[in-house]
Subunit: 335 residues, 4 copies
């Protein structure tokens, strides 16, 4: 870490800073220039709060040389992580997977039908919400335990591992038999939840928050990894910007940027990012083209009678077509 | 709620939609125009998910006439809410309060000294963090139970009610003797936490998330109120934008906008919004000038020996000056 | 256009509004509901300033049924526009083109060498800056007339039509022999320039502004088209968001969204969007996968001796590889 | 300027960089650390394109010690600039001014009436649009030359200097007798216009672009100053964010931040920032409280018959009240 001191920094301020860093066990290398004095910190700076240091009166700027994340950092773990999602399904390191299923689990009939359909179309993991984060307290919040039970029925019927969202650490006992636990965008910085997930041995699908940077996403992964759980799948699902033509702005450049910075796999959720089913196919293809390790797509089973046919979900037939093209694009880029 | 249908909407789609709304107990009033058909919904539409409806194939746009929040809505509660924070300290409805204290509780000596200093300078509530949300798992996370204990010592010494942040519903038993519980920006949409806070009888200081709209802030307040707890203080502390000259962009227009939409009081946190102590005074004055019901300001006690003297905290002397000017500005606008 | 009046709108306010719309030659259809009165406007509402109407005291919200752009609107022009860029090069309506060349024209040797290299690799249009918009007045601003002359030399040598940026309407006479005139992101709402470009007969490549919505991009196209020039190529090159890991956030969903809303072709500039050459390939592939009608890519000729080898430009060899993969991806999605 | 090289930078890359900087006449000071090599540049680095350097393969980061703006920089011009706006009206350096008038000049009767009213209420400069930037080509674009003529009539009648917007350098001859020329937000980076304004001797009111940083605003001021025109008034009028409750988000922290970085005065436009007249008063008071050097407020004369009474304009009576409170707030902060 490099701390650039202001020209007008007083000696006592500099001394206090030196003492502070020395107490943290860091070596210090001073370099005096014409316009600024630079303090180079040597050692493990991951515990240093760069934001705090940057706001000190004597400090002009702080620059990390070493990223603040260690276990998620590709520098210290050059090979791609491959996540074992259960039932022999691997994700990452060249293994590309389609995760598909309905927004919410509604009934046994629904979830089993969707599961069979998406499996036939090429999906290898089944998604479905049992606990639903809803902006309004008056909106349907999911089937909870019953939803988890139905997901397991669908797994039994199809052999597909299941992915479903947790909303509170207190619910963890209910997720014991879930294959991959999802952390939603709104909980990406629910640090108490992240800490608890660090103590279990189960893959975590961690979604990027709507207003969180790529660096913050990696720090949240680091929270889980610091607890001992290294099986993390990152998920980009759109960020919040001024544009309102789509629900969110899908930041696809995050895929190659994350692949540089971390060994963890990256999947894209084009359904939540765009909020419109017509946009799912082009964005799924784009995600495959820029190297995503997987896709998470909403599929609904009975569009004729369901309310949501026009919303962000695809029909199984549409999903099958998307899956076919996605794999063809993937064949091009891995050729 | 008004649903504007697309010109090309098919009759079967419209029928399905009518059936769906009818099942929710809503009356429907159709109005056919040259370019569009409009469906007016009559009744309690707060359970309708407008975002979902807007993405349906047949739908061009959805417009709420009634806001989705009811208990937080000024329409149904025209008078300002006045929140009793304990020890006779009221906030809102003309009662303006200064909430001050250190970022983190560090020691008994520190918290008691700061508490006495800010009380002398005009603060009526003491803030201090015991559980600290930190981006890095390796950073100091607060003194936890011990921090809460020290806050109560400071309350005993000064008579000031205490405000401190909760990070997980499971910690609620520890907060039983806290006067005002703070929900941080990162937990504004931690819906499980909000639900639990609805079941207690204690004022909640709810901070706006970095990327959350004013409407979402009110929906999060509604989550708590729907559970029965009506004592909520809203807090604007900066939103995330492209500008990097300040840590966040303080959205002061949120104060008069919130005062129109809700009866709940609004306080401003200029310390976290700007991240720089030199900017706290002007932003505190601006907040008072546009009608905020209170301010939440970081004050540190011993700048000579503390590392943080240059960061976002004020010294007690600086705080006393700010407090004096703030009250003078408030006198102008309430004259 | 639908104007939703507030419940508390006074009759005199409503009457004034009716009179105002009547004067504009619009028919009015009133529909009174329980919570709101709705005013439907019939006729050509493209001259109505919806933003202004929305801020009137009596008005709750305004909703356009008809988009404010007419000539750019796919509703009134269902077939894709195909833009003739000169020398037989067509772009749009299934004709996909690669536009490549250096950021700035530096010398005859440079521009001719790059032109030959990118042509050999599959590019059909040559780009190169003669007038450069620079944030700093002290930075190199381009070779100006001499740059335009050198571009024409390169065109002569290769037969490729040239694309280059204009920064002021007063420079138009210099651009007479240019094939495609580019309007940069910073000038997307330089309305006086747009009006002038409406009076010429030459294709315009119009870049989206850093903070402009898709709808505003189409309104700027409409400015040019309203003057009579219908040959417009839209270009997405990244928008400004809170994320700093890339220079801008490339909004690829704009491609399918624009294809729904307009008949004009859409190209993507992955070089400026990301600012880093390692990210150009994945983003170029993603753009092709989601249906872009072309790509605009920076290519530099002599990386060994050039300063910029590591920046956003590709070498001709890298470009050739990208071009090959891009065409393979395109083959998949058009199969 | 400090260039932090990557650990893996090759010697030939470093040598090329050294050569490049040496050619620009800069001294170089190398400092090798454990994790990084740092290159300190000595001399006038304002011509160095930091963004470009930062994207080089060998470079980890670039940090300016010296800001890229010189003439606008408070470091080299510690005293506040005071701008002479004509007729003895000074703005900046303690002199606070109210600029008021209608959005568009509509008629002699209108502009003269408004001018008299706002003068009586305390305004010292008259604003009014003759050239109007409009998103739609079909919307009213202003009275142009006739509008400028009417503004001068109003000046004659009241003695108030006039402020009005220019949209193209080619219109400059028409602005010869205007007192203060406004550059609108959309033209903040119309560099050709800025250059032309550098060659005249007339105060420029430069509005911040919707998506431009404070640093970019200062670089645009530098464009004008580099040409020799030092009389610039900066204006914050809201930035574009995800929040839609207000038209833009007024970034009031820009006032104290700009006062640190530059000697140029800063005015706030609460009318355009919020788009709603009810929000003008609180935001005007907040702007005064945080130290703005002036306010620019829209005032309309005949609300009874005008369409816009509910929009962002105040009536003269409302303006008079706002002016009174604004001056009282200003008295508090300058006491």
């Amino acid at each position: 870490m490099i701390v650039i001191l202001k020209h007008e920094a007083r000696q006592e301020q500099i001394d206090r800073l030196r003492e502070f860093f020395a107490k943290m066990g860091l070596g210090i290398h001073m370099s005096e220039g014409e316009n600024a004095t630079i303090m180079g910190l040597i050692g493990d700076t991951s515990r240093v709060d760069a934001d705090l240091i940057a706001t000190l009166d004597a400090v002009d700027a702080v620059r990390r040389i070493q990223e603040p994340y260690k276990q998620a950092n590709r520098k210290f773990h050059p090979d791609d992580s491959v996540i074992d999602c259960g039932a022999g399904v691997k994700l990452g390191g060249g293994a590309f997977q389609l995760i598909a299923g309905p927004c919410s689990v509604e009934s046994e009939e629904q979830i089993v039908a969707v599961a069979k359909a998406v499996k036939a179309a090429g999906a290898s993991l089944l998604r479905g919400g049992a606990f639903k984060p809803r902006t309004s307290p008056y909106a349907f919040q999911g089937l909870h335990e019953e939803g988890l039970r139905l997901l397991k029925v669908a797994r039994q019927e199809t052999g597909m591992p299941i992915v479903t969202e947790i909303m509170d650490a207190a619910h963890l006992p209910l997720f014991e038999d879930v294959d991959v636990i999802q952390v939603g965008a709104r909980n990406m910085q629910n640090f108490e939840l992240l800490k608890e997930l660090g103590h279990i041995r189960k893959p975590i699908l961690l979604k990027r928050g709507l207003a969180n940077t790529i660096s913050e996403l990696l720090m949240s992964a680091e929270y889980i990894m610091a607890g001992g759980n290294e099986d993390i799948i990152l998920c980009e699902r759109g960020i919040r910007t001024f544009e309102t033509a789509t629900r969110n702005t899908l930041d696809l450049a995050a895929v190659p940027v994350l692949h540089e910075k971390t060994h963890l796999p990256v999947v894209i959720d084009p359904s939540h990012a765009t909020g419109v089913n017509r946009l799912v196919r082009p964005m799924a293809l784009a995600a495959a083209a820029c190297g995503a390790d997987g896709l998470m797509i909403e599929v609904h089973n009975d569009p004729k009678h369901a309310l949501c046919d026009g919303a962000q979900s695809l029909t199984p037939e549409e999903f099958a077509e998307v899956a076919k093209q996605v794999l063809a694009v993937r064949a091009v880029i891995t050729a």
